[in-house]
Symmetry: C2
Amino acid sequence: MSGERYVIGVDFGTLSGRALVVRVSDGAECGTAEYEYPHGVLDRLLPAGGDRELPPDWALQVPSDYIAVLRHAVPRAVQEAGVDPADVIGIATDFTACTVLPVLADGTPLCELPEYRGRPHAYVKLWKHHAAQPHADRINALARERNEPWLPRYGGLISSEWEFAKGLQLLAEDPEIYQRMDRWTEAADWIIWRLSGRYFRNACTAGYKGIYQNGKYPDREFLAALNPEFADFARDKLAGPIGHLGAAAGTLTEEAAAWTGLRPGIAVAVGNVDAHVTAPAACAVEPGQMLAIMGTSTCHVMNAERLTEVPGMCGVVDGGIVHGLYGYEAGQSGVGDIFAWFASNFVPQVYRDTAERTGLTVQEYLSDQAGTAPAGAHGLIALDWESGNRSVLVDHELSGLVLGMTLATRPEEVYRALIEATAFGTRVIVETFAASGVPVTEFIAAGGLLKNEFLMQVYADVLRMPVATCASPQGPALGSAIHAAVAAGAYPDVRTAGAVMGARGSRTYLPDPETADVYDRLYAEYVWLHDYFGRGGNDVMRRLRALRKEVLK
Amino acid sequence: MSGERYVIGVDFGTLSGRALVVRVSDGAECGTAEYEYPHGVLDRLLPAGGDRELPPDWALQVPSDYIAVLRHAVPRAVQEAGVDPADVIGIATDFTACTVLPVLADGTPLCELPEYRGRPHAYVKLWKHHAAQPHADRINALARERNEPWLPRYGGLISSEWEFAKGLQLLAEDPEIYQRMDRWTEAADWIIWRLSGRYFRNACTAGYKGIYQNGKYPDREFLAALNPEFADFARDKLAGPIGHLGAAAGTLTEEAAAWTGLRPGIAVAVGNVDAHVTAPAACAVEPGQMLAIMGTSTCHVMNAERLTEVPGMCGVVDGGIVHGLYGYEAGQSGVGDIFAWFASNFVPQVYRDTAERTGLTVQEYLSDQAGTAPAGAHGLIALDWESGNRSVLVDHELSGLVLGMTLATRPEEVYRALIEATAFGTRVIVETFAASGVPVTEFIAAGGLLKNEFLMQVYADVLRMPVATCASPQGPALGSAIHAAVAAGAYPDVRTAGAVMGARGSRTYLPDPETADVYDRLYAEYVWLHDYFGRGGNDVMRRLRALRKEVLK
């Protein structure tokens, strides 16, 4: 017996779940295992089959897939770590959000009732289920009209991805399921319910996705105005005890112990969200430390001691990242997916061939080629709105722009301009936070784009700030493990645990002053175009989108 | 003996020359042959070799290559036609312009003197020699300052491609050659000199490229202000008798008869320019008939009875297209080359493979794919300025723009947006002519892009006008042959000859009203962006280009 204790973090992603075994004393990652959801994302058919295709923009999941992760990935990770399950003192999870499902009072998902297996609305609605936009539009219009005090807490806009819009869609399209469900629960909380037998709404999703502010939800009058039958949605379907992050929801049930091979009775932490849970793993929980989780999209989370309204943020939630601080969230809806779209659709074969010969991916090769020129040499500027703009314009009708091409412009130059555009978009967010009284004093990056060193250097040069990195490539799972350690009582709070168990990467990208000077000039061009096309100077992007819908209908 | 008579048109292009044998009575094309210039375009080294590379933006040619076309292509074309050379009554030529060379008083090119074979400035400067821009800038600045009356005849700007800018460069960089030359002659006129033994400046190049207006060149005082040694440039190096288009310069010399296999003494027409000479071949010489010669770039020529100033045109010249009418010229500096640039650099292999499997070129396949969707469905708008803007903005510091991309945007959609952008650019020119009092009443297209039926339909829909076509794929050579017939006295003038010998294609593209309605809306967006980026709303394109030069120097 070594005397060492361990915790498990489980990260539930879009396509799979990953379990990570972490040593409590120092955060060392001892073993990991991944398990793909057998049903993946349902965007065409239900598992029950049938010939009715799901409508466009739907994205469902099957809750038993999450349990399968606990049964397969957790034991395998423990085995890989070579750890005695008896030394595991706690487990915690993080989830995509807002990912919601209708359940009975005992937590049974409605899609598991035989009579509802063929009903799409009985399943989990994944975060990227985007079919509730008309309902979000109504929420926003009414909230603006009534000047609801919670609206500025979300940068002025409630997303179609969140609990209320998806709930309204459910009521409108399948009222029987709506009436039958006892709770409209985040998957982040449902999985903890299954592990511990106790239902808590974690402060993070309740705040960011559930419009829970200052101890209450949107009031009955507001909800009734949306739909009389929706009047008691918050009280009857949503409300539940709030669990603050890092607290124990309960202890592992016999059933869940059997699934995972862990001992019953160990601590189970309150649920959490993948982006937010990463902050302690990256040592980015102190006020002013902005953590950017950079992947297909980028999520920015930052704590501050004061509550303020940042225009165009995703939200500010008391205890939304760590208990005791105001957690701010912002985002860029398209980042890595823009680069992937360009690399898939606009790069000729000779680049693929050369990349392959040199053992690189196409994007690695494009980055290498792009990096041989000084900043500004391509003569290009781009707007990074191929997937709309989440912060600070909060406008998904916006679209992309590339400007400055000549007959000599090459793919790697456009690729670089797109990377730069996302960096400029990040700088707009950083500057908006500063202008709102919550300055970003440190910038830390995590996520899949960390692999692209050229990109990271562009961000440092554009931001004129050092860009520190999260040491772990499993930031969310490590973050969950840190929460498990706190829930198990090994540390007094998440900040303390993160300082010991989290770690920065050895590489910090420092801005090059000369390049940063050039980027200052390009950034000024970006801001000019950003404001012109994004703030009403020329609404051509909205008109083009409207025309598109019109001619295609 | 059939009694039929024939004429020869020779079209001198950028890389080759083409001879066409045409029946005088009806314009039937009886035989053709092409001959590639042995030296092509010199943009790196002189044929004399040596290790000194030419500077950037230089483009030279070798005059003996033009003679080689006469020696090879003309006899082959006659042979192919099966025509008795005794039945050929005239020959005429057209040339790229402004393509100029320094010669002695007897027409000997300076580059053929042994002592000058190693001197770049002794060679032909091809139209696309772009190294005289600083000299053009000085000409324009001084002309604006002095309010020279001829400046508005050129839309307010003299091009670096033209006779004065290239002459100033020659004087500045190789004064010995400048002093030694007796004439600074257009290749269009030099070739006629070699065929007929007589030197005429054709009214077309003298007007459009030589600033010859109202019977005179820019005055001595103006030229002296540019450079005292340039004071007598027009009088000493340029001036010569003006030959109007369709007139005979003289008759075929014994020497030229020997080269071509034709009979000495047949008519040789005054020289001409490839774009302008095409008008009678396309039956597009009447006032209000705009002919667009659409290839890598597009040249628009149109006659009118009145003289007016069209903002941003290339020029207006009395008798510049046909004798007795004012000839207007405008242009788009990038058209087919933009599509080629996109197809070469931004289209993935799967498109090439599919195109190849179906027996199409990549651009044909892109056009087919693009054409399956209704107008406006791509949600895109582009500016066609990858090669700058010739008309009506006359600004080569401008650059390209594509706006409206989403993660679903495909290469064929961007390709279509680029095609549409060039059509919108044409509509701007057409509308500017109308607003200046010289309305376009008919639109006729010629040139290589005629092959792209999808593109032609887009032009008809965007212009809301029928787009007629030139029947001959050899428009310039046929146009030259028409001029040869007039010079030989077979017809009284070019208008009459063109009406018999020229022909419209059987296909006329008619606008589809519904599509045209959609394009009206997209055109409004184009104009908004055109004016914003092209007329000072946001000079970002100029600043990006300046930054580019700065960081690359």
